[in-house]
Subunit: 305 residues, 2 copies
């Protein structure tokens, strides 16, 4: 067990990420006491049944009153309202953090409501599965994944250091980045891929010539992998696109430009151009495997066992 980073930690929002943060904090001994809060009574009941935290609070006031650190794990559109609601009850010196996939918009929403005596350390663990809800989390979710901290003028040095230790304790690799740069990097590595996956799954559902049953039966050829991405939490993703609009639109513009050029290659039968692109893209995957962000095991075959 590690030395606890915080005597008392509160997780607000017990979905996939919040539930994994709470489980990891307990499993690795990184908080002396873990409190969970969630605005859904059904989720609170389920968290009590799961018995993975020390306390489940029925109000935000109760949840944060004694907390040394509060991790917001709510859809990014709710970060501002939640901090506004909890602000009167926050303990002096508390470190507030979040796990949102968008940083500039969250900072803009949270800062006006943050008491002077609180530090806000925006964070984004780049990890997840396509599942959501209180049962979806697990302590090992963040192992060998990156967690990006985007400190700004309301982040105390001590708060940034403590959050860094917490995430390292979860097994994550910690990187620091400017909020706007984070939003641009994530637009291309995560937000636009999700948008495209949602889009093609939507297209496939509305064809006259091909039935939905055929789409499902023959999905092993590539489509299946898009559906996994397109099965992610709808509220979370709606909020991401609403809150990272500029970077998403910029990256989507690049994507569409490149797709037009690729479409032209197909139309005019430019085999050399296609071959050249398809060879270059293979090299990127080799780099990702070398980075430890993926294994080399073939996945299309879905080998058993």
């Amino acid at each position: 067990m590690a030395e606890p980073v915080f005597p008392r930690l509160t997780v607000v929002g017990f979905g996939l990420i919040g539930g994994s943060v709470a489980r990891a904090a307990k499993a690795y001994g990184l908080a002396g006491h873990v409190t969970a809060a969630d605005n859904s009574p059904a989720v609170r009941t389920r968290v009590r049944e799961l018995d993975v935290v020390d306390a489940v609070a029925d109000s935000l006031a109760e949840a944060v009153a004694e907390a040394d650190a509060v991790v917001l794990s709510v859809p990014v559109g709710e970060s501002g309202p939640v901090v506004q609601a909890m602000a009167p009850f926050l303990k002096p010196g508390v470190v507030v953090s979040d796990v949102g996939s968008v940083k500039a918009a969250v900072i803009a929403a949270v800062t006006p409501h943050l008491p002077d005596h609180a530090s806000f350390v925006p964070a984004h663990p780049v990890a997840g599965t396509e599942f959501s809800g209180p049962d979806a989390g697990f302590a090992e979710l963040f192992a060998d994944r990156w967690c990006i901290l985007t400190p700004y003028e309301r982040s105390t040095e001590a708060g940034v250091a403590a959050m860094g230790r917490l995430w390292q304790g979860f097994g994550a690799r910690v990187e620091t980045m400017a909020p706007r740069h984070h939003d641009l990097v994530l637009a291309i590595t995560s937000h636009v891929p999700h948008l495209i996956a949602y889009n093609i799954v939507g297209t496939a559902a509305h064809l006259e010539e091909v039935t939905q049953s055929e789409v499902m039966k023959f999905s092993a050829g590539g489509f299946r992998d898009f559906t996994r991405i397109a099965a992610s939490d709808p509220t979370m993703w709606r909020d991401i696109f609403l809150n990272n609009k500029d970077a998403v639109l910029e990256m989507l513009g690049r994507f569409s430009e490149d797709l037009s050029s690729l479409q032209r290659m197909v139309r005019f039968g430019d085999g050399d151009g296609l071959f050249e692109l398809f060879t270059r893209t293979r090299a990127i995957r080799t780099g990702i495997i070398a980075e430890g962000q993926e294994t080399a095991a073939p996945d299309f075959g879905r080998r058993k066992g």
Copy 2:
């Protein structure tokens, strides 16, 4: 062991699919004798070392002379030339088949070279991994996957029945479809998803604001899954796009239309529209899992063990 479907089976082209067909035919006893052919001397040497077939032929003549069935497992652009080259040596009554991802173009390329005494049963196993080469195949690749047969006027009834038994023996589920319908179904379930994956990986490699190293480090957010698709064999995929141009362009047109509408929702902050689409796409994945073409296990988290 099953009753052999063919006394002597020849596989031409020993890549991922051909190598899996040969291994499965041996493993499940579906051919009395399996011969492998490949136009690369290095591949032939490797197949001899692997010791997974009964014979490795150094010429097409030698490979097919005694064969009761020949399965072409070459890039779809080579099917015509290979059948032309082997035609003089084919045994009367032989069943020729293939494994190509495109059917109408292969039928058009093969038919003029097919001897009158031969039957051609076009086939497409919807299975694969992102790996290629003689070591990539495995006997279980086709288990619970679909194999689509697209018989036409040069497919004998006996040939279609035998090929159906062969693929069922590999553990595949067999479906019959008209060649052009197959090409349309696969355009949306496989070809366009691959084109899009290749495209976004290409886009990500050429940004000024985000470095290639950042793209690789933070790929766990969704991009990573596209790179797996975009690491597939470049020659095979070039040939697919050159040979299924019309269906791919039609489906790509639909995709781009839908993407423009989605882009508009992001630009104008239409949260309800985004939420509605993201909820609908989730249901399609449930259907794919129900079809047995995917497991419900979360994959984004890449759980160890």
